[in-house]
Structure formats: structure tokens, C-alpha cells
Symmetry: C2
Subunit: 347 residues, 2 copies
Amino acid sequence: MQTNNVTIHDIAAALKIDSSTVSRALNNSPRVTQKTKQRIWAKAQEMGYQRNVLASNLRKNKTNTIGVIIPRISRFFFSSAIEGIEETAFENGYNVIMCQSLEKLERETNLVQTLVANRVDGIILSISMETLDYEHMELARKNGIPTVFFDRHCDIPGNNNVLLNDYQGSFDATDHLVSQGCRNIAHLAGPRDLKLYQNRFNGYKEALEKNGLPFQPDLVIDSNLMEEDGANAAQKILETLPQVDGIFSANDVAAVGAMQFLKGKNIKIPDEIAIVGFSNGPTSSVIDPALTTVDQSGKKMGRLATELLIKQINAKPIPLAPETIILEPTLIQRDSTQKKPTIHPNT
Amino acid sequence: MQTNNVTIHDIAAALKIDSSTVSRALNNSPRVTQKTKQRIWAKAQEMGYQRNVLASNLRKNKTNTIGVIIPRISRFFFSSAIEGIEETAFENGYNVIMCQSLEKLERETNLVQTLVANRVDGIILSISMETLDYEHMELARKNGIPTVFFDRHCDIPGNNNVLLNDYQGSFDATDHLVSQGCRNIAHLAGPRDLKLYQNRFNGYKEALEKNGLPFQPDLVIDSNLMEEDGANAAQKILETLPQVDGIFSANDVAAVGAMQFLKGKNIKIPDEIAIVGFSNGPTSSVIDPALTTVDQSGKKMGRLATELLIKQINAKPIPLAPETIILEPTLIQRDSTQKKPTIHPNT
DNA sequence: CTGTTAGCGCCTTCAG
DNA sequence: CTGAAGGCGCTAACAG
């Protein structure tokens, strides 16, 4: 390991001054003459000095690093979020360590331990579908590491959250389906343990009621909302629920799965069955134009989460009051030329 | 900062032994009695000890961390690749620091510096579209940090690469279009500076020749292959190149852009114009069924790149001979029911 | 098998 | 404004 061996002592020796002065100069401390700073900087450059971040981190017990835990990177919403996180972190001089829980609580717990052990300055977290309590976050709290939850949030008080108004988004989505003439709207629901999916379910239900439509429990199909789940749900609908003319999916993955399946059976979307799913809106044009979506704006959420986290990091050691930021979602109709005819003149 | 303050010295004191023994025990060194190990482990647990990774890293001058630089995380191919990288790294006890160059050489250069400064054990890199030479990688080389290029590769000798057989994939794609009856196939080409796009261009050209079709330079449309570029290209085709009946796009982003645009103009895909694009194959079902793709299998490439990198890391200080792994791509027809009729009976 | 000793490279008191 | 000294927590010789 022939690592670059230039240390502050080397450049101190070369200049016949003390290493502490060099350290100060390199940190641009006001307590060093401009002249000596210049000399030191020049020499450092000349000798190809590079600060040993490890030593610096150890001494300061700070790493300038943010840890991020999300369920799965390749999901477009999360990769967009990471993009926002990474950019904001970068602008503020932070590195990002990024990990995926793969929806497993055990992995999530391990990752929190790893991040704490690596002395990250803060954690951004979107919990797994298995995560029902927050014991594993105690470790971070005890070590004074601020945490921001995003998207999938933590509803016990005293935490920082960046969320979407899931209730409103779902309400709007369902309302939109009704306005397009749908009367029997199925709901692809996520695990009810997650607050987020509870809210999406509630928005769906109350939009039905507000429109004078009956809530039909058998039209709610529970799953983990993977693509396959969406396809299975679509199959179930075709085989046993012929009355269904609209689907509100609690995420985009299942919505796409359902859509592909229905298209394969030559069902016209949205004319025969209209579909709305949560998704990462405007940037996600690979989503089929026939699919209307509720914009999750992952990148924006990522930025907001990171800004909030950095604020909390800078506030140490006196922690700021925890904040919850709620984004209002927007409904995006990709293909506004196609209107679903009002095939049910009743009501 | 009320960080968990338990150190090996604390537990050594509590047990009236030396801290070095504690250190050895915690590293499960064979040179400590099983009995004392047990006592130490128990005590460590009891006192809530957590190794200070920073100190350990400093001492060992090793971080157990892999740095990854890619152009943009939210591109599906890259997020899939990261997924593979992260999983493989995790299985082997490595952390991952992930950064995006946003296709800027300047950012890429800075990131390499940051990673080296952070003493990552290895680097996985997919170069930006601006990157034409590899001067900025000198720093990593000088510090003995192994590097693996993937997807967008480095064709100067002596480097580790994990690549797709771009030539073959493009050849197959073009050949497929011909077999579907296309006779005037446009090519959405990427920056010719990148070897990868050169190869894709060559595959296209030679497939035409092999099939006895003339190569028409005006059917090659150059761009950076963003979605907008694809849409612009499609517009150009509609307005000035009416003979075009097939499009081979050098990436999926532009292919989707073109497809959406054409669909908006009520062009039937693939009946009127067939499109094939490079993409991340089987996992990417959000890609429209009408679009045939060349499978890039990002996740697999990520895994292979990481395995290769770890092999190189473990080989230090005597570096292994550099390797180049080339994956053979597969053509994926999503919607095999739709066959393009041979509307050009000539040839 | 265990203890002693000596740093890794940097930063931060405390003196002058 | 600069120098001297000590230590962050851990590990790796080297002895015994």
C-alpha cells in the first residue's frame, strides 16, 4: 500500500514550522497570518498533500456523511428521492452512504447499526413494509444522531417527517375516477400497518362516500403491491368482479402490473377500465400515457428531507423541535385526449 | 455529543486485563482463550460497547467501503446496477458510497478525489458522457485503489471492465427490425466519443450491410439520448424522413421519448414504425410492450463489477492482471403477438 | 496466551 | 499569531 504519504508534519518540517500551524492554515483558521497561509498552501499543493479524512474524522468524531436507508433503489420513486438527497448533500459538503433494506426489518436494523457505527452525522429513512415499531432507531437516538423519515413515516411524536398528503392524493384520484364515470372502483391496497397505506385507503373510501357511492369491501384487494400482485389483482377482477370499471392502486408498481395484464387481455385502458396509481409524476414518462398518476415528486421530497436533516445536524447539540413537512400531491393525466364516456347514467 | 463512550479500555479496566487483549478478542483472534473471549464478549455486550469504526479505519488505513460513481441514479439501468453492487458489497461486508456525476467530467473528477480522500478500498465507475481521457483516475491508481469500469468503459489497456457486447446487441436489434420487414431504419445515436455508442453504431451499420440494405447517413440522428432528444428525433422523422419504418435507438430513454411522441401522433408502434432500444430488460416492465429491447441486465453487471473489484481488493498489494468481462445481450420482444407485416415486398 | 509499547494523522487546548 | 503537548480509539509489533 504505497499510499500518498504526505502529512501535515511533512509540510511543517519542509517549512520549519509546527504542524499545528499547518493544520490551522489548511482549515483556513483566522488565527494564522495570510502570508504563512499562502506559504503553507503553496507547499501543500507542491507536495501533493491530501488531508487524511479518516484521522480528521476520528479527531472530530464527525464524518460529514449522511446515511440513507430505503427499501429498494431501483424503484423509480426512491431513485428519484436519492437523486434529490445526493444533490442537496453534495451542495452542503456531505457524502452519502446509501443502503437498501429490501423491505426487511432485520436488514434495516443491521443497517442502522452499521450507520451508527460508521458515525454518520444523520440518517434519512424510509421504513420497510415489515417495520411496525421503532426500537431499532433507539440506537441512533441514544447516540444523538438526528433522523428524518420520509414517505413512509413514523407517526409516533417527536420525529422529523417529510411526507406526501396521501389522504388527499387518494381522495383526488378516486374522485377523478368517479368524474370519469366509474361507479365500481377497486382499490389495490398496501399493508394496512403502514400509516401511508392506511391514509391512501381512507382517501379512497371517503371519496366514494362523498360521491354517494357505496363502499364495497370486496373491491379492496390487499397485497404488497409488487408488479405481480397488480397482475394477480387484475386477474381476480376479470374473473370474479366483472362490475369493476375503475382501479385505484396505492402504488405505481402494482398499477403497471395490473395495466399490463389487462392490456394483454385486450381490455382498453382507460376506456373499459380506468386506472390511477401513485407514482413519481412528471419525470416518469415511461409510465404508459393511459395511466393517470398522483405525483409523488420523489426528488423534491429527497431535497426537503436532506435540508431538514442538515438543519438538525447543525443545531446540535441542542436539538431543534422536530418538524413534519407535508407535500400536497398533484393529479397528472397523461393522456387528456381520452375521456372515459359516462357509461353509467345512474346516480 | 453524548456519544456512546464505551471503549476497549473501559471494558479492559472492568475486567482488569489489557485493552489489546480485548481488541484481539473482539476481532476473534485465535490467540485468545475461548474462556476470556467469552468473558470479554459478555462484558462488551453488557456495557453496550460499539467498535469505533473511525479509529479502526485510521489504524488499518482501510475503510471496507466501495465508492461508486455513475452518471445518474434515477436512470433505471443504473439504479438496477447499484442494486446489484449494493447487494454484492453487503454480502461481502463492504459499505457503498454512491455518487452521481450528472454526466459532468468536472463533477466526476471531484468525486474521484473525494473517494480517494475518504480512503475507499475500491471504485466502480461508469464514466460521464464528457469523459474523454482518464487523467483524473491517475489519483486512484497512484494510491493503489483498484477500479472497475462498467457499461461505459475505458478502452485503454490495463483496466478492469464489465461490459455488454454492444456491437452484437445492436446487430441483433437491427437484424430483428429487418426481419420484421423494415427497410429504412433510422438510428438514434449517442456521442461517438464513447466507445459504447461507437460499437452500437457499428452493429447497426453492419447489420444493414449484411442484409443487403444501404447505409443511409441521413438516417442517423445524433444526440445525448435524453427523452427530449428522442421526441425531437421522432418529429424530424415524421417531418422530413417519411420513408423511415423502423428505429433503432442506442438507449431506452430516447426510445421511449420517440415512442411517446409517435403514439401522440397516432402512429401505430410497431406496425407503422417499429422501435428497438437498449434497455434494462426483464425487470423493466414499465417499458411499453410494443417496444422491443436489448437487455442490458444492469443488476447482473453490477454484481459482476463488484465481484471483480473485491477480487482485486483482496489481491492487494500484488495487483491481479486486469480483466474484461463481456456480457452477451438478449433481445426481448415484449409483445410477440404483434408482427409487423412485410409491407415492403422488394428485396 | 497475554501485556507492553508505540503510533495511525489530525485537531485543540494551553502557553508563550 | 505560533509552538508544544496530548489524545481521539484502535491495532500491531514485540516481548514475555
